[in-house]
Amino acid sequence: MLVAGIKSRPQYPGLVLDPKARLHLIAAEGEGALAVLALAAAGGPDFPAKTVVYYTPGGSAGAGHVGSLEALGLDALHVTPTVPTLLTRLDVHLATATMGTRLYTAGAEGFLGQVVQLGERHGIDHLSIRTEHCGSLARRVQCVHCKGITENVTTSIVPCAHCGLSLLVRDHYSRRLAAFMGVCVDAEAPGEVPAAEEIFR
């Protein structure tokens, strides 16, 4: 079973400004704030007035960025306590958004995946969404057996948070689920579970 080097692994080319966008809609988490600040620096004088940012300090060590974002003088900055509360607000925003809105997202991989997933649910092609990976390499993992998602996975092997099976984390990635695949590691030899390695820190 191939674990690494799989072509479904997404690429995150980094945030690049779309100067033609009428609205820059940015969802950022944790260290993703740094990508937003860099984008603002590259943007023209009209950038703040054309920009709405949803930001959550999130799981990664994103302390102290809220002040920097506030200083940009954006059209709107919504700071939310958690990723789910951010996604709830973004969902409502997208429901009435119009063409000309460019969606950007920056942060840890599991966060990027959930924003892309939400964008696609509102009819945005994933290729239209500009992404930048910042901060932790932690993964969202779907247990292929019970279908439960385990968040912030930093090790392979990891126990499934739902059914408890020991999962090997593959590079195979589902955009629809915004998750990597986790497969029972001791299916052929029950009980023979290798030691977990921290590889997605």
């Binding site: 072509k7 279908k147 955009r175």
Partner: protein, 346 residues
């Protein structure tokens, strides 16, 4: 010609077997004594009478038992059949393709009567007699793709074509070689083939995709793919890997002939008219090695293919734990004589 449908199982007591006629028509996939990836696509045209290529959709003696097994899989895990909302037109295209093919090829078993949108479908082996309005989902007891594919052997996926790529946006997958529809749905051609080793580097998928993007109406194509399975288990899904994985540790040099099965997929692709989507059918044929070696040519060739298989493929196809025993068992049937060209038995 009157097919006689067998009563048999693909789980628990594993009573599945092939009749002698079924062994002779088995789609042996190797046309030479070694295996290498290739874009082995050919037109899906009418083959020899009695062969699996005789009709566009092959129905065989395992039909009723396979459909029963599919129902059991779906009962336990409905996520094996999913369709994204924009695929509904392609679902109806599939209904038309399968019903017309089956009724034309096997009139004694299936009958389709069409009067405009008023369709009447009779499936005698499964005891189904339904009238419905083509295009109106509310007139069928199940969504169109699920309705018809519960009545047709093989897995099916529906591929949407856009942005010069194919997207697996619907499917029913219960007889798979260890891949998950629930995980792969929504992926493009390169992404769902992501886990396949070696072939990306060889450019196989680039060439195949380019070919398929221009697939034409009325000109279906096919290829054969293969792997191996312990016990005649149709549902070797990743979902249930923790339940069937230990099968792979049960092979000994004594039981290879009964336990180890060659698993061949007849993959066929059709352009669909109304949706411009492509249907990708993956029909699984199983044969235990004790049945396969009744053809001396197949026995010799399979021995040579397995013996020379690259380690990446042994791993990818999940053969690692029983590859040595299988090669050793097959070696008894390889006297070193040359094998004749083509895939047919001697």
């Amino acid at each position: 010609m009157g097919l006689v449908f067998k009563t048999e199982t693909f789980r628990d007591d594993f009573t599945f077997s092939n009749s002698p006629a079924s062994i002779r028509r088995f789609p042996f996939p190797f046309d030479r004594d070694a295996y290498a990836y290739s874009v082995n696509i050919e037109p899906h045209t009418k083959g020899a009478p009695g062969s699996v290529f005789e009709f566009p959709i092959d129905v065989d003696e395992h039909y009723v038992a396979e459909m029963h097994d599919r129902a059991l899989v779906l009962k336990a895990d409905p996520l094996r059949c999913q369709s994204l909302p924009h695929m509904i037109t392609a679902e109806w295209d599939l209904v038309e393709l399968l019903m017309t093919s089956m009724a034309e090829a096997y009139p004694e078993h299936f009958t389709l009567t069409r009067d405009g949108d008023a369709w009447h479908w009779i499936n005698r082996p499964l005891g189904i007699d339904d009238r419905f309005t083509f295009g109106d989902t509310a007139t069928l007891p199940l969504p169109p793709m699920e309705y018809i594919t519960r009545q047709c052997q093989g897995d099916f996926s529906l591929l949407d074509q856009r942005d010069n790529n194919l997207w697996m946006d619907a499917g029913i997958v219960t007889t798979q070689a260890d891949w998950s529809l629930d995980f792969d749905i929504g992926m493009n051609f390169m992404e769902w083939h992501g886990p396949v080793p070696l072939a990306h580097e060889a450019g196989v998928f680039d060439r195949a995709l380019k070919f398929l993007l221009n697939l034409q109406l009325g000109r279906p194509v096919r290829r054969l793919n293969w792997t191996m399975t312990i016990n005649p288990r149709l549902d070797t899904s990743p979902e249930n890997y923790h339940k069937w994985g230990t099968d792979r540790t049960t092979v000994t040099t004594e039981n290879v002939g009964d336990k180890v099965h060659l698993r061949v997929e007849l993959q066929a692709l059709w352009r669909l008219p109304r949706s411009n989507a492509i249907v990708f059918s993956i029909r699984c044929y199983l044969i235990k090695l004790s049945e396969l070696v009744t053809s001396p040519k197949w026995a010799r060739r399979l021995h040579r293919v397995l013996k020379s298989l690259p380690p990446e493929l042994i791993d990818y196809k999940g053969l690692t734990r029983y590859h040595p025993q299988t090669v050793e068992w097959l070696s008894k049937f390889d006297d070193g004589a040359p094998t004749s060209p083509g895939i047919g038995p001697d």
